[in-house]
């Protein structure tokens, strides 16, 4: 057959594309399971890191087994709440925070109270419950926002007074290395421990302050140097997400008061 004829070219292209597509489909199918597992393990590890239970990881022989085991031991419950603080049915672990973040953005941007209310009722926010060896419960919530170059995320764990932060962990997609990227450093996250998100009955969230937070201020931490927009992004992420959990926190605080 003439290698320069149209028919030959069409047939050649078609076969090539079919072969390439088949190769890719097979690869994707074969590897899908371990890829999904990796994502699941990473999420579990982040949740554990927010309560400091990732310490044994470097000594663990098999990272996956360590994460699975620790997660099953310490994370005793997970559930979903909506923006009004009511529990919802569903699988909390597999909630996609990126989608929830779109709703949160719409709520924050909207000025109409009724619309905010209806949007809030559509939120599905996960809460993970961590039980310490001594029986104390910590509540872990995911947060999500945007930095300078892309999305930011993190997990915040709260004591059962729903005010004091027990631990935090942050991640990012592509902040500047050495500058904004430092938010995923343990040293940055460590500052959050012991900070308070409520001042009296109002939610103050945590400010991330350029030039350093004043000592003894329970509502502020130091920003990362050279990463102003990323730091502001962290502050906005905390404020926007905590606001959505506020109703849930207040409900739980009431319960906490009654119990004590």
């Amino acid at each position: 057959m003439n290698a320069n004829s149209n028919t030959y070219t069409f047939i050649y292209a078609s076969i090539l594309v079919i072969v390439a597509a088949a190769t890719l489909a097979v690869t994707a199918l074969v590897l899908k399971k371990s890829q999904e597992k990796n994502i699941e393990i990473e999420k579990k590890l982040n949740i554990l890191a927010s309560v400091g239970e990732d310490a044994g990881l470097s000594e663990a022989k098999r990272k996956k087994d360590f994460v699975e085991e620790t997660y099953d031991t310490y994370i005793v419950e997970d559930f979903i709440v909506d923006g009004a603080g009511n529990r919802q049915e569903g699988d909390a672990f597999n909630i996609n925070m990126a989608e929830e973040y779109h709703k949160i953005k719409a709520i924050v941007a909207s000025k109409d109270e009724d619309k905010k209310e209806s949007l809030r009722s559509q939120l599905r926010l996960p809460v993970f419950v961590y039980k310490e060896d001594n029986g104390a419960l910590k509540y872990i919530i995911p947060v999500r926002g945007v930095g300078l170059w892309g999305p930011l995320w993190g997990y915040l764990s709260l004591n059962d007074d729903f005010n004091t932060i027990y631990g935090a962990v942050f991640g990012h997609k592509g902040e500047t290395p050495g500058l904004g990227a430092e938010i995923s450093d343990k040293a940055f996250a460590k500052q959050f421990t012991g900070k308070k998100i409520f001042s009296g009955e109002t939610l103050t969230s945590i400010r991330v302050m350029k030039g350093g937070a004043p000592k003894n201020n329970p509502h502020a931490v130091d920003a990362v140097s050279g990463g102003t927009i990323t730091s502001d992004g962290v502050a906005a992420m905390l404020k926007d997400c905590l606001e959505q959990y506020q109703a849930f926190f207040i409900k739980m605080k009431e319960e906490f008061k009654i119990l004590n």
Partner: protein, 216 residues
């Protein structure tokens, strides 16, 4: 019939060693600079990137060489793209499955191997006119030449930018100013411009040893 060449004749070996030194794709041909800047902050991702690129250049050259007599000339470049893209996606998928941490660090740059000029360059310049075996060696050699520079650059950037190598602390903790010492990591080394400067230094050193490369 022509005489059969041995598998590892001196000529074949040259195909592998030349691109590592005097035909180096990064320092002599100045190809693939973009990714050399992007993935060399730490050694581990740089090494994974080097291996990935080597495999992709090697196999794409080999496959294209096998197909070279059948490809319709009018869609030659598209055929090359399809083959290279398929290989790159396979590599990306494998990294996501078995080296998840590193694949996260490399992020888009694995996908961008497709546009690494070394690959298309070797296919056009070599694979389309040579047999599969020499093409494979030529591809692997060029990948290795690229990878070598990547690893050297990453070595310096990780050592001076983070004080570590492969994540292990090399510079003693007690040297750091925060621990009462005199040393601090160099923040500039982490940023891309410094990679360009290190590549420049490598080119300088290479040329001072090999005068043939200067001003032809």
């Amino acid at each position: 019939m022509e005489e059969k060449e041995p598998m590892f004749s001196a000529k074949i070996l040259k195909l592998f060693t030349n691109p590592i030194n005097k035909d180096n794709p990064v320092t002599v041909l100045i190809l693939g600079i973009c990714s050399a800047l992007a993935v060399t902050v730490k050694l581990e991702p740089a090494l994974v990137m080097a291996v990935s690129v080597t495999l992709v250049t090697g196999f794409s050259s080999c496959i294209m060489s096998c197909m070279r007599h059948t490809i319709p000339n009018r869609i030659r470049l598209i055929v090359q793209l399809v083959v290279v893209a398929t290989l790159v996606i396979v590599v990306d998928q494998i990294l996501q499955a078995y080296a998840y941490e590193v694949s996260k660090q490399l992020s888009v740059y694995v996908g961008l191997i497709i546009v690494n000029c070394i690959i298309m360059g070797r296919i056009e310049a070599f694979a389309l006119g040579n047999k599969p075996w020499p093409s494979l060696i030529d591809g692997l050699g060029n990948g290795a030449g690229y990878g070598l520079i990547l690893v050297v650059v990453a070595f310096f950037r990780e050592l001076f930018g983070s004080g570590t190598l492969f994540g292990f602390q090399i510079i003693p903790e007690s040297w750091y100013i925060s621990n009462g010492g005199f040393y601090e990591n160099n923040g500039l080394v982490i940023l891309p411009p410094m990679a360009l400067i290190i590549v420049g230094l490598i080119i300088w050193i290479q040329r001072s040893f090999n005068k043939q490369l200067i001003g032809k």
